[in-house]
Amino acid sequence: MFKKILSPVDLAHVDKLAKAMTVTGDLARSNGAEICFVGVTVSTPSEMGRTPEEFNQKLEKFAAEQGAILGVPTSSHMIVSHDPATQMNQNLEDAVSEIGADLVVMATHPPGVSDYFWSGHGAHLAAHSKASVMLIRG
């Protein structure tokens, strides 16, 4: 049903991804799909990499590791954003069309007060992207 699953990952908070990874892996296996891990970074040095290339290597390594664990083909896609704190929604939307994903599976936080002011990235993606979106509550 699905051919390419986009999985946005925050490399700084990999520990929160366990549940989403399991679900993504199951979906990929049952559909015979590939998982593309998408990471968003900045061009200035950040805690996940002193250069965007260092970030990219970490992302590639993460994708390879997950591929081995989940037993499905994986790839990775890095986005360098000018201002990820505010442009994440647009960045993810662009990534969906760039890599041609037909399903997005992402970890999300339980809804809270702040969701009344600005919605989560998953909610935005579900409202604006052509791909199907599945949100995994942490």
């Binding site: 200035t44 040095p45 002193r50 290339e53 260092e54 390594k61 000018h82 704190a85 442009q87 600005w118």
Partner: protein
Amino acid sequence: MVDQSPNTEELEGIPSPDGTTQLIETDYEIGEDNVEGSVGPFGFDIHNPVFLISGMSIVAFVFYTLALPEQSNALFSWLFGAVTKGFDWFFLGAANIFVLFCIALIVTPWGNVRLGGTEATPDYSYIGWFAMLFAAGMGIGLMFYGVSEPMSHFSSSLGGTAAENGVRTDWAPLGAASGDQDAAVRLGMAATIFHWGLHPWAIYAIVALSLALFSYNKGLPLTIRSAFYPIFGDAVWGWVGHIIDTLAVFATLFGLATSLGFGATQANAGLNELFGLPVGSTTEVVLISVITAIALVSVLRGLDGGVKVLSEINMGLAFLLLIFVLLVGPTIYLVKLFFTSLGAYLQYLPALSNPVGREDVNFMQGWTSFYWAWWISWSPFVGMFIARVSRGRTVREFIICVLLIPSMVCVLWMTVFGGTALHQVINDGYTLAQEATLELKLFKMLDVMPLAGITSLVGIMLVVVFFVTSSDSGSLVIDTITAGGKIDAPVPQRAFWCIFEGAVAIVLLLSAGGLQSLQSMVISTGLPFTVVLLLMCIAIGKGLSSERRSIKDAA
């Protein structure tokens, strides 16, 4: 160059950014001093202790100014006088070094180094880049001083010199031009352009270049302390760095808050003139709130969706106003004046920038030294913002675009606005603009030109939007510094700084003389920052030569 293939064996070393660079080896991890958490629904990720110390010392200074207004005012104005008068030679001399250093960077092979690595590509187009440079760097000042400063220097020059006990008491630049109108125009324009031309932009360029270089090419966090790595080594991650960063936050926040306060008084006067809006603290508080609210929307929309868009709108409006005044005003006179002013600037530049043995003491200390301290105290903010948007440019391209082109735009701006006002005085005998208070000069000048209602409205809009673009870019800068160089800290944090800045402005505005005394204090921070900038020149030299070596080794 390190192989960038996704081979896991290669992961130990840090790969270079696009193409060749010489990364600095340090064990410091970005974010290692940061504290993450959340207050209610709002997440935060702040540097410990820079965030707390800067926030608390700002509150402490505001309290001090409110609690002991007379004492604080006396202290800060004494400090201000001592700094701008006692260290005039230091400011003028240092600023000359910055200009010469920048020019040297253009003509030497150091200029070939590209920010972000040999293969890096620019993040922003020229238009977007320029718009942001201007909106952050000068914007509002051009609106107020474009008409007034050429006029002031023209009048004082025309008045000639006066002396008491062998000391000059007049405010004219250099030897004045007693009674000679043409010479007074030339000297007035030269003195104005001197304050808005190469020197201020060189100051910004130095800070911006050192931050961009150490962040994009050396892999250090985007914060002021990183530029000192070649000098202090790993000590910059400790208290030395905390002090430098805190000082930068301090100068930026108070600089923005006091300008916001003064800007509100000025915008209020303009609105009163145009629409009869009452002058008073209520209107001013409303104005600050509106400006802060727009800035808040802008920071929440982010760098590309907010700050850049507003800067471009601003640039477009300013350009239209400039073209309008140029075409509707005395066009031929202005075109001639542009070249005359440029010539006069180059002619008087050596004398105006001479740091010692000057006779025009009032002009040198009251204008030049004041301006240099002012630009320098703004430089951490503007420099950091310029650095943020300048990845992918070569050093030569960077300096040409941050130093030469903005200087030329300032020459054009001052010629058109100042020149039109001078023409009105000299040829038409219209002196209302000359006699008006600072904030009304622009509007009085536009008053006698066609479509005055529309152009004045555009003028007011420009004033407001320029404040917004300073306020939003300032909030981003403060947020980045107080997050230890992270530009992806949670959004509520930048919203906090934006609101905090508006609140400080309102509190100071409502207190007696608070704005004045804290502005004096901010300008006084120009002195330690001058030392900082001189050290930055050394750091840039070291940084660029190691870049050159690594490019040669790679080739």
